[in-house]
């Protein structure tokens, strides 16, 4: 019986390893190729960092990366406070399944539908598209992600601490700043880091709401990838992936993004 069980687990474990290979193999391959002198996918020409040099000299890529940075920073700075307030409101002030569903919509709706809706909206207002229209659009799903993560944090701490503060005569404002905010702060930081990561990598909404002159990094990558395999994309891919991973590990340290996604 036990032996049967262990064999079963071993097969499951082997399956997990294969799945991890499937998930990481392609990414690791790109990283390895980014150091390939030959620039070919199939012939190793020796170790070289020349593709990174080419990247640093490419003005289009630098300015697209800066554009992404502006969009991600701006949308995160707007979404973090709004999302936090929303989380507090939905957990402490109003219990409403309709509002819960509404906040869930930006996460579940196909990104192309959100993108087209926003494009129609902006064009009806005759707005000239640019970085700010991407930024405003990214706030929509960033609010949802920040709210989701702060809500998990709120769920995991005991409201009686707040009640004790109020009973001891602290005002609601004092209680908020002395008790609630410090308790949920790691959640806010985690949510903000996650929002920033999503915004940096987001393509579809940015693609439809961008002006022609100022592409973000994913938009530029899309136009490069469409024309096939070029070695400098490997170097760019390596940097983008590493930046995302570092941001995520930071978010994980501050909070529980995984838990938030589960709930």
């Amino acid at each position: 019986m036990l032996r049967e069980f262990l064999t079963g687990r071993r097969i499951l474990g082997a399956h997990l390893i294969l799945v991890l290979l499937f998930l990481y193999g392609p990414i690791v391959m790109l990283m390895a190729l980014s150091f390939n002198e030959s620039g070919l996918a199939t012939a190793w020409g020796g170790f070289s960092t020349k593709w990174y040099g080419a990247l640093a000299a490419n003005q289009d890529i630098i300015s697209a990366a800066l554009n992404s940075l502006i969009v991600a920073t701006g949308s995160t700075l707007i979404a973090a406070p709004i999302g936090t307030l929303l989380a507090l409101g939905l957990e402490r002030a109003v219990k409403s399944s309709v509002l819960d569903a509404l906040v869930f919509v930006p996460m579940i709706i196909p990104d192309i539908v959100l993108a087209l809706a926003l494009l129609s909206f902006y064009s009806l207002l005759q707005m000239t598209l640019g970085l700010y229209s991407i930024l405003l659009s990214h706030v929509v799903f960033n609010i949802a992600f920040v709210a989701a993560i702060v809500r998990t944090r709120l769920n995991h701490f005991d409201p009686s601490i707040e009640e004790a503060s109020l009973d001891l005569g602290a005002s609601e404002v004092t209680t908020f700043f002395k008790i609630t905010l410090p308790m949920i702060f790691p959640g806010i930081v985690a949510g903000a880091l996650l929002a920033f990561t999503i915004s940096m990598d987001e393509f579809v909404v940015a693609y439809f709401t961008a002006g022609p002159a100022q592409p973000t990094l994913p938009i530029l990558i899309y136009s490069m990838v469409r024309f096939g395999v070029t070695p400098d994309i490997n170097a760019l891919a390596t940097i983008v992936v590493l930046v995302s991973i570092v941001l995520l590990l930071a978010a994980q340290r501050f909070g529980t993004p995984l838990k938030a996604l589960n709930e």
Partner: protein, 284 residues
């Protein structure tokens, strides 16, 4: 009482206002557009018509819809088949391993999907790594791996597999192991226990995961474009092209809303399923 209203306004006001302006109003506009006509120069003629929806059910578009549906369903089924054992293994691992393993599975999802799709171009193209490896193994047939429906399915599976594993993991972790033990004690084989006890009890997670894979698979346009090479037009590409190439926004809006309608039906079904389960546990 008055203080309560002020508090609610401060907390919910900014977020709900933002979602109203940048989510609900735009969706409303898109919906209204779907009942207007396309102008001869690509603009919108504000005259009511049902023609866009009528056009959407023409055989050409129905074929595209069915093909997209097929690819999304195959992707979802594969994700379930591959994802369930992963979720099961992680959920039944020692607690300190769970977070690490789950993190490993989910981590790639947070990196640029475009880049992860590009990696598959490098792997699959006719001069690519897989063909090269086959050649080294003595298989002297250059396989057309890229620009096929299978390539599209692999790309979607690669992108959305974590979406399947997360809710499955949550469902399996919540499961009381005593149920399976009872089943085993009563003489059921492990397979029977799985099929009659474990799997049915995690059905909500299965359905949630299936939705999280199915919905984005149906709307994705860059995977079919980059890995399908534009050979097959799928729903996402069709909708995109109505806006960016054909300049027929009303028809594009109608297609987007038909897709949304299908998704809404599925979401309501899931909410109903979750609700029923909650009631069942309350009774018990």
């Amino acid at each position: 009482m008055k203080k309560n209203i002020v508090q609610r306004l401060i907390l919910l006001g900014p977020g709900l206002t933002w979602l109203a302006i940048f989510l609900l109003v735009p969706l409303g506009i898109l919906f209204v557009y779907s009942f207007f006509q396309r102008g001869s120069f690509g603009g919108i003629v504000y005259e009511f018509t049902l023609q866009n929806y009528a056009r959407a059910v023409e055989p050409l578009f129905v074929r595209i819809f069915l093909l997209s549906l097929k690819i999304a369903i195959v992707t979802t089924a594969l994700a379930l088949l591959i994802g369930y054992p992963v979720a099961y293994y992680i959920a039944t691992s020692p607690a300190r391993w769970r977070t690490v393993l789950l993190g490993l599975v989910v981590l790639p999802f947070w990196t640029s999907y475009l880049i992860r799709t590009y990696a598959w171009i490098v792997l699959l193209n006719s001069e690519g790594i897989i063909n090269h490896m086959l050649l080294a193994l003595g298989v002297n047939a250059r396989l057309e791996l890229l620009y096929t429906q299978s390539a599209i399915t692999i790309g979607l599976l690669y992108g959305y597999l974590p979406f399947m594993i997360l809710p499955l993991y949550a469902a399996i972790e919540r499961l009381n192991p005593e149920y399976a033990e009872a089943s085993a004690d009563l003489g059921a084989t492990p397979l029977k226990t799985f099929l009659t006890v474990t799997f049915p009890l995690t059905l909500r997670g299965v359905f949630a995961g299936a939705l999280f894979v199915f919905i984005p698979s149906l709307g994705n346009f860059f995977v079919p474009e980059l890995l399908g090479g534009g050979q097959e037009i799928l729903l996402g590409n069709l909708i995109r092209d109505q806006f960016l190439k054909a300049r027929d926004w009303p028809f594009g809006s109608a297609l987007a809303f038909l897709t949304m309608a299908l998704i809404m039906v599925l979401l309501f079904f899931q909410a109903w399923l979750a609700n029923r389960e909650r009631q069942a546990t309350n009774v018990a």
